[in-house]
Subunit: 756 residues, 2 copies
């Protein structure tokens, strides 16, 4: 790798026109998004009751996101100035890296907000359509809502990246680090905060409603139902949209950084062409998503995915052969491989697209109700709660392995295309990431479909205005939504691993640029300090997961106490004559989620700083590898165990093993409750975690090398920075532990016991 | 590291006498073991009823171990010949590496067998002493049983290593690879097989007995009780003894391999002196373990530990200053550091001893009933099964992080002593491992105390011949045993990480010896293939854990069906007039455990072969780092989550949160049942897994380098070997999946449902 040093690259002439065309496509995507939004809003709004409930959900979601953005503004401001203080090649990079940090964060937040704000308007329209017009129109509204978010994600991601390339040319990769970091940081906070919100409300509602009082989900007598529906929107919708936008942006950033070094000028253009093709094929995919008669909703959505993936693969290959020269020497970057540039590039892109399809199939197998794993988990409900937990954990652990094998095969395949050249191999990985991105438009659409249909069912149930037939349709759509949500998580993890690996390559590259080739000795994997780094990287993943799960438990506990209090103190709730104070629960969950998101967020930002400045540039590399390896497995494990439990419960509710109300059902409810924070809080938050840690490392590597070996060598300053970061983590963890104590005490009081 | 190449080392003159003295100490330790054994057997045997029950447990345990050894003989024979086929420096190494492989395996098996065979004789003597003589004599018998196993472990470990050093001199490190591999391989199988046995019987007995029929633990009406007690002996006793022997042997092996390169002749002697001192201080510790009036049993045992640790630290430091020269140049190995050799060596040893003490404290905090984590888990039982699971998982995840931080600090501290020299840093890690070893005598004694007191309680309960007061004493001893078991697991994991890191260093060292310095490029951590390796290493840990948990679930299911069948078909069991067929359950668990241990075992052996030959020597290094990093976290997570659940249940049974029979109790029983395979099957089996994978890598590295770059370069053969190994894993996993299907079908039959 020391051989590859960045050439001066310029995007001009035909290339300039091409990138401008990408900008135009990004604007076109945004226009399409606006069109889809209009289509959704044009649908009728349903009954008075529905509107009232939807209104409550809207207000709750708006209030939460508003407060969340105000909280995050503090973090963003600190990060803005911290970025300014970091070393940079020149003033342009220094200033605009910070400015585009804000742009990235703003886009990420905007996607989340826009997605949420349409989802809370679409939910009642889907419910109304299911009642009055039938399944296909209802599904259409849900999928168009998703398409809006998908096209907005793709549009804003491409817009940001292409403008930076046009504007900053040679400096674009450095400025993009800021853009990517902003997107990732905000997405991580939205993922964690929204994830805690949605699951605290869900688990809290289930514990009191289903388990203690024996009333169904979304029953209006449960004070936590509105909070539960708000959660779907701020977690599954806003959080996931921000997360996928971030995946999109960061993958592009990584590809552009490595691209300019491997492909020269063209390396700043080709990684933009591929997702631009993806944007076009996604638009096609959305228009093709028309349910055929008698076909399941999932089949329709899968068809859209496979079609747009196939179109993306073919078109990217054609683009590679037209745009890239057939000889490496013509690229002028000094890098080469055995395969010609078009074969190399299109091969990598196709690997990414095939990876997306493979993960779709694998996740479907491990979390779908029609396959063996979920059936087995459901069967273990006959021997009680413990066996359901154990079998779900097993499914999660094993499915993580197969997913990791597939991702590993993709990375290895990409490396093989490069024929052994270190830097080129990781550019191939980044290009595979771009391949994955071509499917993001449809993936986001699939994902947003989930919370919208979930909410539609909730509103129908609470309003009491939907007939048997309409409810049946909504249940079917909700089940489809569950599967699409699980699949999206799998794809999101794959993009995270590819993007993180590529960013990791940029990190070592930057270390070489700063420190010279001799620094290679720091990166030998058998160095004891590097092994310690790897251990710490794995530790952060485990701690982050533990903190997130714990946070949900704490916040859910608060919901349980509030709902119990309302049942106790407000007369007539169970009889339907008293009205629960829904807003109170929303307030509690909002407050707790915002408080809880700080600790995992601080951990993600400060851990690489502590390791990098404290132990050095090599151990930080070990740290990143340890985090990527165990993070990949942990993320899939958590997501799929949760998905399997969720659908095992659905199987039992569909009448297997004794059906609703049986002992077996109670056991699967336990599984589902354990799985909730797994699959919707901790698991998906690991994606942005990996990228935030890699981006922080990438941003600080210059400073570390400089303080360790450079002109400003100063061990005292270096150690002080590390200690400050470590202290920050310790304080944050300590504070969150203190909160735990209070709840522990609360739980233990006799008053609490009496209410059980 | 390429700079350190092995010098010709000879152990002669004073050194020869010293090593001979170590041999004598090892024989002395074995003599002490025999003495302790006699003391235990001299105690009175208790009532007719007790003898009859103990007899049944003995027979069951003997039958299981006998069948297990016959099964493992096949694996051992294959490994024996496979080792012969691997490259070696000369015929001596080739032959004696294989011969000492058998010796290592034999010692490992012998320790397990001897420990088990005394434990099944001690259990009823402890019960009788508790009834007739009071707490202190009962505790004394239990602890002497442990001391027998401890001294036998230390004696056989030192005996094997010192004889190899005396006999083979320069070739000793290579021959020791065989010795260590034999010990680790057998220990892994005994850990997995015994772990599956003990938890299948335990979980099966609990599911039918406690959960379905509402009868207490160890109730003679439960057909699985004898199997449960057999399990304590073959899993917790034989399995753990073999595991700790293996830790002992492998750590010594790693230290001796690295020692000869760092310290020359003296490097083959000093790593033997340290554990020999440990043997002597352990004997002192055992004799000092006399309970003081009114003191809890745990305090007595802790005192023995801290005393022997302090004596070990002081004596090792004195030995280092007497034995080692004060200048590096006098060592003649060409290696040096800033600190003088005695400071370096004694510093590393003390780090290891401090690490042991720190882990003792940490594990006690996270799994002890008197501290916050377990109290919090117990409190969550008020909100049901799911919250108990979530809080226990959180405790496990977070405690894993702190333990990893402590281990990481120890590795880093050891590396700092070496002042940056790669090879020397890892020798320091190995010496820290030797420091840990000084405490193994007492640790094994503490651990064996657990199953013996657990069994004593079982026999007392089943015989009905023990009064209230006697039962109270046994309950106290059992609780002490639970904590000592948890602590041992923590220490075992720490030794595993240190030994695995040191072995990993030997692996890269061997690669350099075979391939020359240019091979360093293969080990750069940012190589995409190496990242894939790390991903695969983490995958193996997850898959292994999933397989082990799954195996327990399957085998427990078989127990559940058999016990239910007996309740149904044998009249009068519940009334106490019919006698259950205990032997039938033992047979079923024996058969299933032996069938189930193959798949994880095959995975551990073949995975490094597939990765190494398939992807190369660098990716195999990444694989090992990925496995060590995620394996450390996973092992502690599983052990401590399980320990916390176990003791949370005890807290509730002691009357908190509603006490026995409450809803809260049922929730903690679920936690405990989930925790059983965590803490006693999957978690502890990860220790030998890490070492087996490192040793396999160390043994094959010569062949990989040779086929990849050497004289016999041959990619076809290399890929074929990898494919064969990968196919072997796939077939083994497939076969175990098929078994799962059958159980799944069985569970689903209406007949099975009726019996619930």
């Amino acid at each position: 790798m020391p051989g590859i040093l960045p050439a001066v690259v310029e995007v001009e002439g035909g290339d300039f026109v091409l990138v401008a065309l990408v900008t135009a496509i990004s604007l076109g995507s945004l226009a399409m998004a606006a069109l889809f939004r209009q289509q959704v809003l044009a649908a009728p709004e349903g009954t008075e009751n529905m509107r009232r409930i939807a209104q409550a959900v809207q207000e709750g979601a708006n209030a939460y996101l508003g407060r969340q953005f105000r909280t995050l503004a503090i973090f963003a401001a600190i990060a803005f100035f911290a970025l300014m203080a970091l070393p940079a090649d020149d003033a342009t990079v220094r200033i605009f890296r910070s400015v585009f940090f804000l742009v990235g964060a703003g886009f990420s937040g905007a996607i989340g907000y826009l997605g949420m704000s349409l989802a809370v308007r679409a939910n009642l329209r889907v419910a109304a359509a299911a009642e009055n017009e039938g399944r296909d129109p209802a599904m259409n509204i849900g999928f168009r809502t998703g398409a809006f978010v998908g096209m907005a994600t793709v549009g804003l991601g491409l817009l940001g990246a292409s403008i930076v390339v046009l504007w900053f040319q040679d400096d674009a990769p450095k400025v993009l680090e800021g853009f990517g970091f902003g997107a990732a940081l905000l997405a991580m906070f939205m993922r964690v905060g929204g994830g805690i919100f949605t699951k605290a409300a869900d688990v809290g509602a289930d514990l009191v409603g289903k388990v203690e009082q024996g009333i169904p989900e979304d029953d209006p007598r449960n004070a936590a139902t509105i909070a539960d529906n708000v959660g779907d929107n701020v977690g599954d919708c806003a959080g996931m949209a921000a997360d996928l936008f971030e995946s999109y942006a960061v993958t592009l950033v990584a590809a552009l950084i490595l691209g300019s070094q491997a492909f020269g000028d063209k390396g700043l253009v080709f990684p933009l062409i591929v997702p631009a093709i993806g944007a076009l094929s996604a638009i096609g995919g959305v228009f093709l998503t028309k349910p055929r008669a008698g076909e399941s909703g999932l089949k329709t959505i899968n068809r859209a995915f496979y079609l747009s993936a196939a179109v993306g693969a073919v078109a990217s290959t054609i683009a590679a052969f037209i745009y890239l020269p057939s000889k490496w020497s013509e690229l002028g970057s000094g890098v080469s491989a055995e395969l010609s540039p078009p074969v190399f590039a299109s091969g990598a892109v196709v690997i990414g697209i095939v990876l997306a399809a493979a993960i779709l199939a694998l996740t479907g197998y491990f979390t779908g109700t029609e396959h063996k794993p979920v059936k087995d988990v459901a069967a273990t409900s006959l021997t009680g709660h413990a066996t359901v937990i154990l079998s779900g954990l097993s499914v999660g652990l094993e499915s993580a392995v197969y997913t990791a094998l597939v991702i590993g095969a993709a990375v290895f395949g990409a490396a093989l295309l490069a024929g052994g050249s270190g830097g080129l191999a990781l550019f191939a990985v980044a290009l595979a990431g771009c391949g994955l991105l071509t499917t993001v438009g449809v993936i986001v659409a699939m994902d947003t479909f989930g919370p919208v249909s979930d909410n539609a069912q909730g509103i129908a149930e609470m309003s009491g205005d939907v007939s048997e037939a309409g409810a049946q349709i909504l249940t079917e759509l909700d089940a489809v939504g569950n599967t699409t949500k699980a699949i999206t998580k799998g794809i999101a993890i794959a993009t995270a691993v590819l993007a993180a690996s590529a960013l990791f390559a940029s990190y070592t590259q930057s270390a070489f640029e700063e420190g010279g080739a001799f620094i290679a000795d720091e990166f030998l994997v058998y160095d004891a300090k590097l092994i310690v780094g790897a251990l710490l990287g794995a530790s952060v993943v485990f701690l982050f997961s533990g903190l997130a799960i714990n946070a949900v438990g704490r916040a859910a506990g608060a919901v349980v106490y509030e709902v119990r209090r309302q049942f106790r103190e407000i007369p007539g709730i169970m009889e339907g004559t008293g009205r629960p104070e829904y807003g109170k629960v929303v307030d509690i969950v909002t407050r707790d989620s915002l408080r809880e998101l700080a600790t995992p967020g601080i951990l993600a930002i400060l851990a690489p700083i502590a390791v990098g400045f404290g132990l050095g540039v090599g151990p930080l590399a070990g740290f990143l590898v340890g985090a990527i390896a165990s993070g990949t497995l942990m993320a899939v494990f958590l997501a799929n165990a949760g998905g399997a439990w969720d659908n095992a419960k659905k199987l039992v509710e569909d009448g297997h093993h004794g059906g609703k109300g049986s002992e077996a059902h109670a056991a699967t409810v336990t599984g589902d409750t354990v799985g909730d924070p797994f699959k919707d809080t901790a698991g998906p938050a690991i994606n942005p975690l990996l990228k935030v840690m890699n981006l922080v490392s990438l941003l600080i590597v210059g400073a570390i090398v400089n303080l360790s070996y450079g002109e400003d060598e100063n061990d005292v300053v270096r150690i002080l920075i590390a200690l400050a970061a470590a202290t920050g983590i310790a304080v944050a963890v300590y504070i969150s532990k203190q909160r735990e104590s209070q709840l522990g005490d609360d739980v233990d009081t006799p008053a609490a016991v009496e209410t059980v």
